[in-house]
Every structure is written in C-alpha cells, then in structure tokens.
C-alpha cells in the first residue's frame, strides 16, 4: 500500500517497528502533494489557477519537515521512542503560531508575520514525534464556511470535486486530509469550522469540549467559542490526535484541569447500553430570506435525514437505546445569537492589528498615528474582518448592548440548558452535520447571512461548549460526501469516539467506504 494511504496509527506503528522510516513517509507525502495540490495560496494569487488541483497549502515547509523526520529516524536508530505520533506527517491550519514560520490567518494584515513561538497544540504533536508539513488555507481569520474569503488565492478546493468548496473555515485542513496530503490536520471550530468542512470533504472532524485543548498560540476569533481540534480520515486517528494534545496548559488558564482518558482504549468499548437521542429540532433547518427579512423553516433534505436515521438504526443494532423526540427548543436561535456574540469577540480581538508592532503597515505617507491605523487596517483586512468589526462595534455599543449582546448571552444560557436537560436523559445526541453537501465555489459567497446558516446544526455546540464529532456517512445524489454528527456532555469525547468508531465499523463494508478522490494506481 502507498504510504500516503496509511492512517496515523499505522504510520507510527511502522516507524516504531522499523518497517518504514520517517523520511520515507515524509518524501512519499511530499511527492503526492506535488502531484495533487498545485500552487500554494498567495496574496494576489489567481483564484482560478489550476482548477483541478486542491490548493490546500499556504506554506509548505519541506526543509523544516525533513529536519524533524531525520530526528525521528535518529531516535528510532538510537533505540529511543519518538512518541505516539512518530513520523506522522501533519498539517496545521494557518491560524496557529509555529515558531519561525509564517503564521498568516490567511490575511494580508499578517502575511509577513513570522511567529516567535509555537502553539501548545502544535508543540505537543511535535513533541510526540509528528512531522509538520506546513500551514494550510482557511477563511480569512476563520471568518467563513467555504474558504473563499482567504486573502491567499487560489483558496482550497474540495478534492471530491474541485468546482466545489471544501467548507470552512478549516477548509485547507479538511481538503488536505481528504486528499491524502497527511493523515491529521489541526483545525479550529468556532461555529462548526472543523465539523462542517469535515462533512463536506468526507473526513472525521472533532470539536473537543471548550477547555479540553489549550488555545495558546491560536490567533483568536471568538475567545469564548474557539476550540482547536483534529481532522482525520478515521475515528481512531482522531482519538490518537486528541490524546496527545488535550489537557491543562500553564499558558492558557481556560484549558481545564480535567484528566485526559486513554481515548484509544475507550473507543473500543462500543455503544451497547448507551442512550442516544434524536431531536426533532435538528431535523428542520432555517433559511433567511433577505428580500422579506423573514426566516423560513424547512425540513431537512431526505438524503441527509435518512443518513441520520440509518446511523440510529445501526447504533440500535449494536445495542444502543435510541430515544426519540428529545427537545432542543433553542436550536434555531443558535445562528442569530452567534451573529452577536462572535462579532463582539471578533471586534475586540481584531483591534490589536494596527500596523504598529507586527504585521502589515500601510506604505502610504501618513501624518498621524490614527491615520496610519485606519489605512493599515483598511488595506490589510479583507471584507469579512471589516464586516465583523463593524457589527461587533454596533451590537456592543452602550445604548444597544442590552437589546443585542446581553440578550444573546442570555439565549446562550438557554441553549446550554437544552443540552443540560438532554444529557439528563441520554448519553449522546445524534444529528446531521450539515443541511447539505458542499456547494459550488461562488454559489453562496457574498451573502454573509446565508453562508452563516450552513453552520446552524453545529453552532449550538460552541455556545454550550460541549464536544461534537462529524463522521463520514456516504455520498449525496451529486456524489459529494455527507456526514452524521454526535454531541456528548462536557469532557466526554470518549463517548464520541465510541459512537463514531461503532458507526465506522458498522459501515466498514459499504461500497462508499472504498471510494477515493484520486486514483492511486
């Protein structure tokens, strides 16, 4: 088998057993990337360039990776253990700082920013033997669900159909993993930004509990919502990746001091005896009609609904008890509340980009500091950060904050209450990952409201802080991947892995499991 088709667990096992070297694994991935990825995203790049390529990367740091791979091989040769990710090639969403590499947030305002330190999640993977291949593309500052807002073009494309988006904001991560450019990628999820692209690209996406993984070194969007997490091709690789990076961190006081279980062992416990809930509130979707200003409610497309019901049936056959009609009454308010809360937090976080200490400064002659701020931000930010700053300023202004911000925060309490009450009755909730499969490039971009509603079945987990996982569930009528999703109570990622693994095994013989976006022969 081609080395790039191996899972992270298999790669680490082979390297530990001296059946392959880290350098061999790395070179196999680099040559595959050269074949399928095309030119990296760049400022001023042509969005239409090499339309049949994936374009997951912003920066491929091959030499840095070679140094690390050689070090892993040297450790093996010396009889030392490089760690559970020995020689595993990984990619990193370019929203994390990696020391001495460009860390751009896919924004012109940070295009020249070389990070002076490494994010904790990345550092833990590297300490466990992972080989970082480079940084992958995303929506600018993670603001989007398609990758199209990246200032680094061409943006990532969906490997299953390169005329479609990979989803976002961790679109480069999902595309890279689906395209066999590395079995694990590190993403972030603020409203669904790991799980949505995972569903669109047919990979596994895990949003851990808020506080399960340190945010140190993550360029912030919504500080109360952001969660780093892995994208992988299998549930077992997701469990492996999380087990290495989870846990308390002296550099992030919001990283909870909750012990990290042995997820790989927990994962094998199956779903027998677990109560799995289905909620009618996750079987309808809401769309915004900009002309009438009204929200229109629809039922889910049949093929999405049926994939969830099929998953429920499989879980039942494996011994889980399915509990129907679990009320999650405030689900439909997830996106409107998110429009307020995330914008306030984004505006606050974006004020640090002012052209003074690092990042882009306008080359225009300016006679005073305020003018330099305005010009640097005007020229450095794309349209999505500007939109978020403006909305954040408005809804948090003293005269409007009770009406908007405080109200949204109270509704967040109600969304959390929905989960608290549900998890009194069930161990897990099963739901669709997304209302549809990946849409065409250009199909939604520009309509910021419609784009946001793609996250409507996922964002509630970010408000509540609870963990969620999207696992591949086959393909739709256009042969595009779709996913099913599980929510679990705080810090119960072990339950997500049990359900995800059981579903994966139960569908292991399905023909769709054999499909690949490329021919490896």
């Amino acid at each position: 088998m081609n080395l790039v088709e191996l899972s992270a667990l298999e790669i680490a096992r082979k390297i530990h057993a001296r059946e392959a070297s880290a350098v061999e694994v790395l070179e196999a991935h680099l040559s595959h990337i050269a074949r399928v990825d095309g030119c990296p995203g760049a400022i001023g790049g042509n969005p239409q360039a090499e339309a049949d390529k994936v374009h997951a990367f912003i920066s491929l740091t091959a030499e840095r990776a070679r140094v690390k791979a050689l070090a892993v091989d040297a450790q093996i040769a010396a009889g030392q253990d490089p760690g559970p990710l020995a020689g595993v090639p990984v990619t990193i969403k370019d929203i994390f700082c990696v020391e001495d590499t460009f860390s751009t947030a896919a924004s012109k305002i940070l295009a020249n920013f070389k990070a002076p330190y490494t994010a904790t999640a990345v550092q833990r993977w590297e300490n466990a033997g992972a080989v970082v291949l480079g940084k992958v593309n995303l929506d600018e500052f993670t603001y989007g669900s398609s990758n199209e807002s990246s200032a680094f073009q061409p943006a990532s494309r969906n490997p299953w159909d390169t005329t479609r988006v990979p989803g976002g904001s961790s679109g480069g991560s999902a595309a890279a993993v689906a395209a066999f450019e590395g079995p694990i990628s590190l993403g972030t999820d603020t409203a669904g930004s790991i799980r949505l692209p995972a569903a669109y690209c047919g990979v596994v996406g895990l949003k851990p509990t808020y506080g399960r993984v340190s945010r140190y070194g993550l360029i912030a969007f919504g500080s109360s919502l952001d969660c780093p997490g892995p994208l992988t091709r299998s549930v077992s690789d997701s469990a492996l990746a999380l087990s290495v990076m989870a846990g308390a961190d002296p550099c992030d006081s919001t990283a909870a001091t909750v012990p990290v279980p042995d997820y790989l062992a927990e994962m094998e416990k199956g779903v027998k005896g677990l109560k799995i809930g289905l909620s009618p509130d996750y079987f309808r979707i809401t769309y915004f009609n900009a002309e009438t200003g009204e929200l229109v409610e629809q039922s889910l497309p049949d093929e999405i609904k049926l994939s969830v019901l099929d998953a429920a049936e499989r879980m039942a056959k494996l011994g889980a008890e399915i509990i129907e009609d679990v009320p999650m009454r405030h689900t439909r308010f997830g996106i409107p509340a998110y429009f307020v809360i995330s914008r306030v937090e984004a505006a606050s976080n974006l004020h640090r980009y002012d052209g003074v200490k690092y990042g882009y400064r306008t080359p225009d002659m300016t006679d005073d500091l305020r003018s330099m701020y305005r010009k640097s931000r005007a020229q450095g930010f794309g349209i999505q950060p500007k939109l978020r700053v403006l909305m954040g300023m408005y809804v948090s202004a003293a005269q409007y904050s009770e009406q908007y911000y405080n109200r949204a925060l109270r509704i967040r309490s109600l969304i959390r209450q929905d989960f608290d009450e549900a998890f009194q009755k069930v161990d897990l909730l099963l739901s669709p990952s997304t209302p549809s499969a990946a849409f065409k490039i250009g199909g939604v971009y520009g309509d910021s409201v419609l784009m946001q509603y793609a996250d409507q079945l996922l964002v509630t987990g970010n408000h509540a802080g609870v963990p969620g996982i999207s696992v591949p569930a086959g393909f739709d009528h256009d042969a595009m991947p779709i996913g099913v999703h599980f929510f679990a109570p705080d810090f119960r990622e072990d339950l997500l892995f049990r359900a995800g693994r059981a579903y994966e095994q139960s569908t292991g013989a399905e023909i769709w499991r054999q499909q690949r976006p490329f021919n490896f022969d």
Binding site: S224, F339, K357, V389, M393, V395, L409, D447, H463
Partner: protein, 106 residues
Amino acid sequence: MTDEITPELFEHLVELAALELSVEEGEYLRRQLNNQLMAIHELQAIPLDPATPIASHGVPYTPETSAHIREDILKSYPDPAKLLEGAPDVQENYIVVPDIPHQSLK
C-alpha cells in the same frame, strides 16, 4: 423597510472601527449589516425571563476543573531581537510610529 444602520450611523461605526472604506465596500458592508440584523431580530421572538443568567461561556468552570492562578513571576523572552524583527519600523530597539495627535484638554 427602514435600514437600522443608516448611512450616518454607518460612518460613525467606520470611524470607531478605525477603518477607511471605498464607496463600494461601504455599500456592501452596510447592506450585509442590515441583513444580519434582520436575522438577529429573531432573538426578540423569545420570551425571556429577566432572571435568565448571562452566559459568557458554555462550560462551567469549577475549582476542580480550573487552573490555579500561576505565580506572578517575570519571565523574559529569550530573544527580544526576534520580536522586533516583526515590527514594521524600528530604530535603536524602539518601534517607530507617526506623530501621535495631541488634543488640548478643555
């Protein structure tokens, strides 16, 4: 339908946000803001008990799950020159900026 964010209010927000916008950008952004506010108004439909607490985060932090406050010890970054490499304009280890506008206090 009256726009909640009028051109005048929008100009004020642009000033507060320390931005400058082209005419096209301004028109697009104001339209998107007003559309988003229409979606946000959905929140008004919920009868809200005033006693409902504000949730600034979802997961509760208890003493058992919260990190101890670390000791307040100064730790120097080992390579200050590396930090300054990222600054747009540096002279003799100072970051240089244009004149800071002065305003007389009344």
